[in-house]
């Protein structure tokens, strides 16, 4: 897919780099985001990476759509030449199963696996934080091994505790605050994903690499 720059209203533009969940495309999104941030362009307010797109919020009193489109088109050519990344690596201790991972067994039986295999398969890969959204600090990560592919729950739960580790489709996530949730809950981490009063309020950032470590 040819990258496109389209308006999302009069104060944001969407840079479209793909239309599927794909790690290579997602890495390009993060590279572009970093490039724009380090360029510190007057009038660009902030960027929001997603799977295959980057939303750029800008001040319409400073930049016209034509101006921002040209700036971003230029940045797009720069990322093709410069694709090296140095993502942070974050380790996440997980207590699999038990009370806070109530779906672990049904995931195992649905996938035709033993519980130990689900834990091993989930925790052996290094995931990329594709994007964040839904609630402050919630990471959408992938790519989850196909062997663990499960649909979302038909009826979402009304309250999922913060720290709960979950899977759905080709992704894995961690609930960052207590909220409703429709993913399959397989474990829990004591790490705090979001603390509004802290100097570092967020455990994760888009583009980070994540490794789950099963706690005994």
């Amino acid at each position: 897919m040819k990258p496109g720059v389209v308006p999302l209203g009069d104060s944001a533009v969407l840079v479209q780099l793909g239309d599927e969940i794909d790690l290579t495309v997602n890495h390009r999104v993060h590279t572009l985001a970093n490039l724009i941030t380090t360029s510190a362009i007057t009038g660009i307010i902030e960027t929001v990476p997603a799977y295959a797109t980057l939303l750029v919020h800008y001040d319409a009193l400073i930049l016209s759509f034509t101006q921002i489109k040209n700036i971003l088109r230029e940045k797009l050519t720069q990322i093709q030449e410069n694709e090296s990344r140095q993502p942070r690596r974050i380790e996440v201790p997980v207590r699999y199963g038990e009370e806070l991972g109530p779906d672990l067994e049904s995931v195992a039986s649905n996938c035709g696996l033993r519980v130990e295999d689900v834990i091993r398969i989930h925790s052996e890969k290094i995931y990329t934080v594709y994007m964040m959204g839904f609630t402050p600090g919630y990471p959408y990560m992938g790519k989850l091994d196909d062997a663990l592919s499960m649909p979302r729950l038909e009826t979402p739960r009304t309250r999922v505790p913060a720290g709960t580790v979950a899977i759905a489709g080709s992704q894995t996530g961690i609930y960052s605050i207590e909220s409703p949730g429709g993913w399959n809950l397989i474990g829990w981490t004591p790490l705090k994903l979001f603390d509004p009063n802290s100097d570092s309020p967020f455990l994760f950032a888009p583009g980070d690499e994540v490794k789950f470590i099963a706690e005994e």
Binding site: V6, G9, E20, V48, H57, A60, S64, P136, N197, P201
Partner: protein
């Protein structure tokens, strides 16, 4: 800060409230890539007008009130300014028009009574409402329970602090924004929107429907989103896409074909096709609709026209008439 200073800066007490009041500044900017919505005012124009009328700087906060009444009591002499739609303002024993600033003496009550039209008003106080910033903003994030006053709506008994007024109270009082600078609010507005990015997810007939028919603003509308009821739009193919960033004003069309317009507290990303985005200058028209009653129509515009309209609108704030 010593106790005496703390007491001196206490300025407004909430006596009574039956609406939804939250502390908002111009918005929580810089954290959207972490999933933090921008929050901030539903009607940015009225918010900035109240703020400017009270002589406050750019990042000062005000009280947003909607859906019902609020009564405040001044704990010390101050200047307040009120701007918005659908409220009657009375200070002490007199009624006053909105879009102006007023000298309020310690002990006087300020009452905003909800009328049948409109939705939101902003009460700014000289020196701005002061509270602990969270993630660089004092805007209230209701879903996340942070920002503003402990992340919650105001309730009777709350006492709000204010900062130092930018000028003397006499200089700040009796200023007004003339009617010529005000947008033409309406109970049934026409709302400009910019097409896309998923315009191509909808058949031509659906797009034509979207642009010609009336939508009722549902009474389930809130600070997260305004739901619209009308003829359902049909998706050409899938009713979902992989999530992408969203902004206030984005018009999502979920599988039931009924549009939802993202508002101040909407999530930062979403996976439903967006037929378009409301122009920034027209968000205030939609925000001031009456849920369950108002009907709106959409009108397509270009980014260039929308930006020009927005610029003219915000430049209108410079036309504040000073007191004599």
């Amino acid at each position: 800060m010593n106790v005496a200073l703390q007491v001196l800066s206490m300025s407004l007490e909430v006596v009574d409230i039956n609406g939804l009041a939250t502390i908002q500044d111009s918005g929580r900017i810089g954290w959207r890539r972490f999933g933090v919505p921008s929050s901030g005012p539903m009607d940015a124009f009225a918010f900035h007008a109240a703020k400017k009328l009270a002589g406050n700087a750019s990042n000062c906060a005000a009280i947003e009130i909607g859906l019902g009444d609020i009564t405040l009591r001044a704990k010390r002499d101050c200047v307040i300014a009120v701007a918005g739609v659908g409220y009657n303002l009375s200070i002490y024993v007199w009624d006053f028009p909105l879009w102006s600033s007023y000298y309020v003496r310690a002990g006087w009550t300020i009452r905003l009574t909800k009328l049948d039209s409109g939705m939101w008003a902003y009460i700014a106080i000289s020196g701005g409402v002061q509270t602990q910033p969270i993630l660089d903003s004092v805007s209230t994030n209701l879903r996340g329970h942070f920002g503003g006053l402990d992340g919650r709506p105001l309730q009777a008994g709350d006492v709000l602090r204010s900062g130092t007024p930018s000028r003397s109270l006499n200089e700040l009082a009796a200023r007004t924004l003339p009617e010529s600078a005000l947008p033409s609010y309406s109970d049934n507005p026409v709302v400009d929107f910019i097409m896309g990015p998923q315009g191509n997810y909808f058949a031509d007939e659906s797009i034509a429907t979207f642009m010609s028919q009336e939508y009722t603003v549902s009474n389930t509308s809130d600070r997260i989103g305004y739901r619209l009821e009308g003829a359902a739009l049909k998706h050409r193919r899938k009713a979902e896409l992989i999530s992408e960033g969203m902004t206030m004003g984005a018009i999502q069309i979920p599988s039931n074909g009924q549009p939802i317009v993202m508002m101040a507290d909407s999530p930062t990303t979403g996976g439903y096709p967006k037929i378009g985005t409301v122009a920034s200058a027209d968000l205030l028209f939609l925000a001031q609709c009456v849920p369950g009653k108002s009907k709106i129509r959409f009108q397509e515009t270009t980014v260039a026209k929308a930006q020009r309209k927005y610029r003219e609108l915000m430049n209108g704030l410079d036309r504040i008439v000073e007191s004599d």
